[in-house]
Symmetry: C2
Subunit: 289 residues, 2 copies
Amino acid sequence: MASSQFHYLQSVRVSSPSPLSISTSFDHGRVSFQRKGNCLVYASTNNFNSDLHLQSKVETVLDSVKWDDKGLAVAIAQNVDTGAILMQGFANREAVAATISSQKATFYSRSRSTLWTKGETSNNFINVHDIFLDCDRDSIIYLGKPDGPTCHTGAETCYYTSVIDLLEDQQSGGDKFPLTTLNSLESTIAKRKGELEVPQSGKPSWTRRLLLDEKLLCSKIREEADELCRTLEENEDKSRTASEMGDVLYHSMVLLALKDGKMEDVLEILRRRFSQSGIEEKRSRKTQG
Amino acid sequence: MASSQFHYLQSVRVSSPSPLSISTSFDHGRVSFQRKGNCLVYASTNNFNSDLHLQSKVETVLDSVKWDDKGLAVAIAQNVDTGAILMQGFANREAVAATISSQKATFYSRSRSTLWTKGETSNNFINVHDIFLDCDRDSIIYLGKPDGPTCHTGAETCYYTSVIDLLEDQQSGGDKFPLTTLNSLESTIAKRKGELEVPQSGKPSWTRRLLLDEKLLCSKIREEADELCRTLEENEDKSRTASEMGDVLYHSMVLLALKDGKMEDVLEILRRRFSQSGIEEKRSRKTQG
């Protein structure tokens, strides 16, 4: 943690490497930040007072956490794009301070009695974008982007064992995650794609048919987009809009799967665009031009 | 918890109320389940041996959890549709057993030394669809659908305090959540919609222009859907597909916001369709007809 200690309080908010990073410096409240490479760095070089001011603010935030009798709070790491809960550990004051400064999710190991940064051996760091405290101030979320699989087993998240599967006698081999709806839908489509080579008897699933027939798929995507628009143009009920939007999303995801694309990539693109108002500016220019 | 104890081991997997719930009974492995109203109920009425078999399985699962020296494990409740982390508490053996049986997220209160089911006073239960254990078996996710706001403050989740905001001197008034990308994008669009009445100087944002011009919005949605299809038809790079898919998603979300729809509703629709293979069957019928 030497390097984290060195940077302690110097850099406060992370930004993933992005070719779209264009802003160079700006003010946040009374504290000045500067973008340096891939992260925002507290512009402290020549301002001893600002330095002390930020340091005192971090101390105040850390003071407000309700540490337990061992000086710990629960710390949960969550993928900012997919929403997947990656892992859960414990953090003490120093671990949170190190996470703020290094922007890498850092925990306190109760068994080894030391700080540890996820990724320090595997290089699969979790790049923390923001930290959230709960209403009781005794639970923490590190919201960030993982560099690779988080679990030491190589799984994307540590939570790959479904209790329902266990009760149903199914082996949970690390490929079943607590999938939220979007991730679950993507996983179902990927499964269908993986089965394309396997001959099937009976009526093929709609997803299989779409995957096997690009013309059908594209005509459905255009049709569903049109139907979505017509819920606005023809002033249909909002439940109709939600339903048509579901159709647009599902059919688009089948096309994405066919091209070996991932929803996480789509979401990362949107995050980067919106964090810089990129899409708004780009589109605005495009239309004006 | 009396009623939970009564149902203990009788019902194993929850399913939200859904007009699409059509299946009536089916087998999972060696254990038989039956759909009863809105949940799957272990068909135990006439089979004492199956009863014992399931009970023994639940005990085995609970035995496999690495309870701490106080008999507790961390339990995190997550919204199955949005991915939002709703709250974090602790669970003991009885709390997990009660969650399996009642399908309502149940915790152990360390301060009151009792079991408590989230929602028992507010009626905002968290309807648990599945439970996940981490690789160390000492951390648990209750993945489910909340009936309403989870936090006792009335906020959607308990994690409404951003450390970055605190460091930037901004008040976190309960409206800033650890938003994953999709939720964050929706929140940005909603913000722009809320500002429509406010006169603005300077160039309007692209989102504002779309919100003010339905014709422009619909033409963009149809155009972006077409561009997405062309990445497949013209064999473009998959990064192009992800980018166009981002455009389709963003523009569709602007239309959804204009109709006062919510992404959570869209995702819930998809979850219900896919959990019953509904969309596949519906589409298949539609095309054949």
